[in-house]
């Protein structure tokens, strides 16, 4: 696939949280790029750092967290070095974000119309009338029926799916180059989720914006993403295009995850799934060497002592592992 120019280049991002109980290295050296018009899926479970990464990109990390290293190059400029004033101009206009819980991201005391209008007025020099027109257009664009009526409604009067559409409308209001979707469909029913996914795909085609699609659901990224970065305990452990990740997973974690999640295509039902042993380590007690080693069936002495680097083992396929899986290995069966 022809990749457009680089829009977002995250290099060795490190965001640490300095708590009373110790330092939590939420993001510990993450690197990935998003090209124009591309959808990058950032996949991982709890503790992998994906949400903190997205907040770091937006420069929304608050005490006790702090970005301690790395760069976030957006359209050629490092966002880490920007002032809060400069970031405010970028947020909502060039980079937008939608979250998991639309009820808490929308202000309950303002109508949805007002909230979208605010997003427009803050970033664009237009009249209120113009902003209102645009808002209604946006509501229509995101598939909300009777947008003129809905304009005056409050968030609690709308269903979960509708609210998420309003969030998307707000996020799209200034035609951002990059949309960050942080578990935006996790709280939705599956039929509503399907609607929202189709909407996002549709908007993406229409506007050509890039999407950073953050989720724990592998099935979602299979559908939405062009490239996938798999995160584990603050680091990217595998990074490649969507087909390579699903057809030729190389990192034992990715491989294990793909095998252990039941899907509609799983052949033998009512039999034990090949599960990954153990649990995600506590951030206060990270294992030495490769963080995945206590759970990895292929771990060697070297894995327990050294942390592998993210290396390109095949063109366009990066893995952080001393002994990547080749399809022949059946250790999880």
């Amino acid at each position: 696939m022809e990749r457009g120019e680089v829009l977002l280049d995250v290099r060795d991002l490190k965001t640490y949280f300095f708590t009373d109980d110790g330092v939590v290295k939420a993001v510990d050296g993450m690197s990935f790029t998003i090209h124009k018009g591309e959808v990058l899926g950032l996949v991982g479970e709890s503790g992998c750092g994906k949400s903190v990464a997205s907040m770091s990109i937006m420069q929304l990390v608050d005490v006790p967290g702090k970005i301690v290293g790395g760069e976030v190059i957006f359209k050629g400029e490092d966002l880490v070095k920007k002032t809060p004033e400069q970031m405010r101009k970028i947020r909502g206009a060039e980079i937008s974000m939608i979250f998991q819980e639309p009820m808490t991201s929308l202000n309950p005391v303002y109508t949805v119309g007002d909230q979208i209008m605010e997003a427009i007025l803050v970033h664009q020099d237009v009249s209120e009338e113009e902003a209102k027109k645009r808002t209604i257009e946006l509501l229509r664009l995101v598939g909300i029926p009777e947008p003129e009526r809905r304009f005056n409604q409050y968030p609690h009067e709308l269903s979960g799916g509708m609210r998420q559409r309003v969030m998307i409308a707000m996020a799209m209001s200034c035609n951002p180059d990059l949309l960050i979707s942080d578990e935006a469909t996790t709280a939705l029913d599956v039929t509503i989720q399907a609607q929202i996914l189709e909407l996002m795909k549709d908007l993406q085609k229409k506007t050509g914006m890039a999407i950073l699609f953050i989720t724990h659901d592998l099935a979602l990224v299979a559908e939405m993403a062009n490239s996938i970065a798999v995160a584990y305990t603050g680091k990217i452990v595998e990074y490649s295009d969507v087909y390579s990740i699903f057809k030729r997973p190389r990192h034992p974690y990715t491989y294990g995850l793909l095998n252990s999640v039941p899907s509609l295509k799983t052949e033998k039902t009512k039999t034990p799934l090949p599960a990954i042993e153990g649990m995600v380590p506590s951030p206060y007690r990270m294992p030495n060497g490769c963080h995945f080693n206590p759970r990895c069936p292929f771990a060697t002495e070297r894995c327990r002592k050294e942390m592998p680097e993210l290396a390109e083992i095949e063109p366009g396929h990066l893995v952080r592992c001393f002994h990547p899986v080749s399809v022949e290995k059946e250790a999880y069966a």
Partner: protein
Amino acid sequence: MKKLLEVQNLVKHFPVLGGVFSRPVGWVKAVDDVTFHIFEGETFGLVGESGSGKTTVGKTIIRLIEPTKGNIIFDGKNITKLPESKLRPIRREMQIIFQDPYGSLNPRMPIGEIIREPLLVHGIGDKKEQEERVVEIMKLVGLRPEYLRRYPHEFSGGQRQRIGIARAIVLNPKLVVADEPVSALDASIQAQVLNLLLELQQKLALTYLLVAHNLAVVRHISDRIGVMYLGKLMEVAETKELFTHPLHPYTQALLSAIPVPDPEVKKERILLQGDIPSPINPPSGCRFRTRCRFAKDICAEKEPPLVDVGGGHYVACHFVKEGKVVGYSQ
């Protein structure tokens, strides 16, 4: 096969209170005339989205919530209206696993006590025997017995779920209602807990009512599945049959909405229009008609009954006759 549980015309309406005197101004028709049965030793999956009533069904059949109408026949006994004193011994036979590993364990009780409590309450064995049984159960669910004096907050989500499971099986029940047992867990832990449930079912001859919204999970461990929508059962069938020949338009849409972890599968999606209606004011006739692509006038006038279209496959739709209707293939 023996029926362990029979649910007949189960109804549960929750009052919506309002006004100065907190009078009921409306009713949430959470469960509205649901009938099905579960065979001994099988896993019956109950699926549905929000407002479907599946969780209410799960909690009502073990009398955690009192039914408004209908009959619950457990192991041949009608337990619907039994007073608490007579119900108590029967409670030993039917237990529940909750969804939230964080909220379902008392933060001030050490886990050994949590698991021991059912034995204590039902007066089974003396203290020493109880403690032995707790250790036995902990080992069975994969928890180290040395930790029985520790408190829930010291454990991870997956471990807490195991504690909840231990509590549910310590009395050796016949039926276990599993209410979204893995939804709150990380993907890599879900498989572990699902495997544990399968293993326990084998070892202890358990019958499961699995309530869940994740169809892939339900498909993996259920023998038969019931699909609910707005308080009613739309379709009931054996798992394989449901996924290869879904007959109800809702089931078809539901199945098509599930994302598949394979980038090469191009989804032909049946997109439902609009949102799920409120269970306070469900649509007349067939509840699904407002979003159904085949809806006709009769759907608003008459409610379709749940009929057997052959081989234990039940569908509630006016346009299904003898397993032939709007086809859909994977």
